[in-house]
């Protein structure tokens, strides 16, 4: 923080908090608009809402980490040790959403399997099975 004066850093902080506030209002209005609360019968596709929201939130995260937490003024190697591991989360996110979607697709199949019942076989004649009948073939 030694590179910028006290007055300058004060201005930066004020600007940052205003931008954060404005983005939050935009996010809420966009969510309400997209889901049809502001204009009757007007909807935006959920995927588009999702992408816009995630991008705006990522920008908010950038502002908080880089300006409020002063990551901008740290040594590059420190920045890398903190931020690079978080990239692993991108794959975690994709992998688990994928998995969740798969669970959803299998729901009907699993319900069907759970409802299945084995027909009981009534033994006829002698109860001793012959060897050939006892072997299971796949």
């Amino acid at each position: 923080m030694a590179h910028i004066s006290y007055e300058e850093s004060k201005t930066i902080a004020t600007k940052t908090i205003i931008v954060l506030g404005v983005i939050t209002i935009v996010e809420v209005l966009f969510a309400l608009l997209g889901k049809g609360y502001l204009i009757d019968g007007f909807h935006i596709h959920l995927g588009i809402i999702g992408i816009v929201m995630i991008m705006l939130s990522a920008y908010k995260a950038y502002l908080i980490v880089y300006e409020f937490m002063h990551m901008k003024y740290e040594v590059p190697s420190l920045v890398k040790t903190v931020l690079l591991p978080t990239l692993l989360l991108i794959w975690a996110l994709i992998a688990f959403m994928w998995e969740g979607n798969d669970w959803y697709k299998r729901r009907a199949h699993i319900d069907g399997k759970n409802a299945e019942q084995v027909q009981p076989v009534v033994p006829q004649g002698d109860l001793m099975l012959k060897d050939e009948e006892n072997t299971i073939t796949f």
Binding site: M1, Y6, T16, M53, T86, L89, A92, Y104
Partner: protein, 306 residues
């Protein structure tokens, strides 16, 4: 200031080996570096929780709609989607700003400035916790959501509700619309929910053993056209996920407020003034506090906006 000498050290030796010892290669103190790494690990914990939320949400045919679930406002107001949580977000953002100001005052060794701005930060944190307490109370007491019961449901078919004489002539609803199951012994003002005198089967509803009124309806589209069904409880996981994730965040805010208090008192007594390191302790708790705000950005995104 110690930070200035650290910086000079760093610049004069940048081209020689930074890792030979005797100087901090990252130009920050041990405490600050470890705070960063603690926050990194905490970020993974929160990410795990939020990803679990996403996975379960993706795996369900329906999920409570946040604009419907979070639409109450103190003073008995309803149908104000997201207004209260937006207010909570602003409270936390404002306290983050006052924290920045406290750190800046610390850099120029201004004791009174540090104490005053930290005090405002504590007020912000306490206000946020109060808001959360109100939100939880509303969900638990008035709306009967617990970690194992979720009365917020979403229709997966269009249909028409049955009237009290059992005819399919009540209001209609379309697929994807939300409902909240009420309890028969709990009054909600405009409701005429008084004609149920206990769990059992009624012409227009089925009251289950927990007392939830599950209104009956006739399906008007899809493969079950014409069949009479009753409303079901929403996905069970929602309540547990909501209370655990916002609770874990709230616990972070709470411990943050405690540490802010301790450090504010220390600053007031002149402890950090003696250390002459630009109130580094204030900087460390500042990092933590901004992280709590950062996590809220994502909790807000995942629970309320999407």
């Amino acid at each position: 200031m110690e930070t200035d000498t650290l910086e000079k050290d760093y610049e004069t030796t940048q081209n020689s080996a930074n890792w030979d010892g005797g100087k901090p290669p990252f130009k920050v103190s041990y405490g600050k570096l470890m705070m960063w790494y603690f926050l990194l690990s905490d970020a993974f914990t929160f990410a795990g929780f939020l990803i679990a939320y996403g996975t379960l949400r993706f795996s369900m045919p329906s999920w409570p709609v946040p604009d419907f679930v979070f639409s109450s406002f103190p003073g008995g107001f309803h149908d104000l989607p997201l207004l209260f949580v937006t207010f909570m977000t602003f409270v936390l953002l404002a306290s983050s700003f006052t924290m920045v100001r406290a750190v800046q005052e610390g850099h120029r060794e201004n004791r009174n400035g540090v104490v005053v701005w930290m005090f405002f930060t504590i007020l912000g944190g306490a206000a946020f916790l109060s808001c959360q307490a109100w939100e939880w109370t509303t969900l638990l007491k008035a709306e009967n959501m617990t970690i194992t019961l979720n009365p917020f449901g979403t229709h997966t078919e269009s249909g028409v509700y049955l009237t009290s004489d059992g005819k399919a002539e009540g209001e209609t609803f379309s697929i994807g619309s939300s409902y909240l199951l009420h309890k028969y012994d709990q009054h909600h003002g405009d409701d005429d929910a008084t004609h149920y005198d206990g769990p059992g089967d009624y012409a227009d509803a089925y009251v289950d053993e927990n007392g939830f009124i599950r209104r009956k309806f006739k399906v008007t589209d899809g493969q079950d056209v014409g069949i009479i069904k009753s409303e079901s409880l929403g996905p069970k996981a929602f309540g547990a996920l909501f209370f655990f994730i916002t609770g874990f965040h709230g616990f972070h805010v709470f411990s943050g407020v405690i540490f802010l208090l301790i450090i504010m008192i220390n600053a007031y007594t002149g402890l950090y003034e003696k250390r002459r390191n630009g109130y580094e302790m204030v900087e460390k708790i500042g990092l933590y506090w901004h992280f709590v705000d950062l996590v809220w950005v994502f909790v807000f995104l995942v629970f309320y906006l999407l």
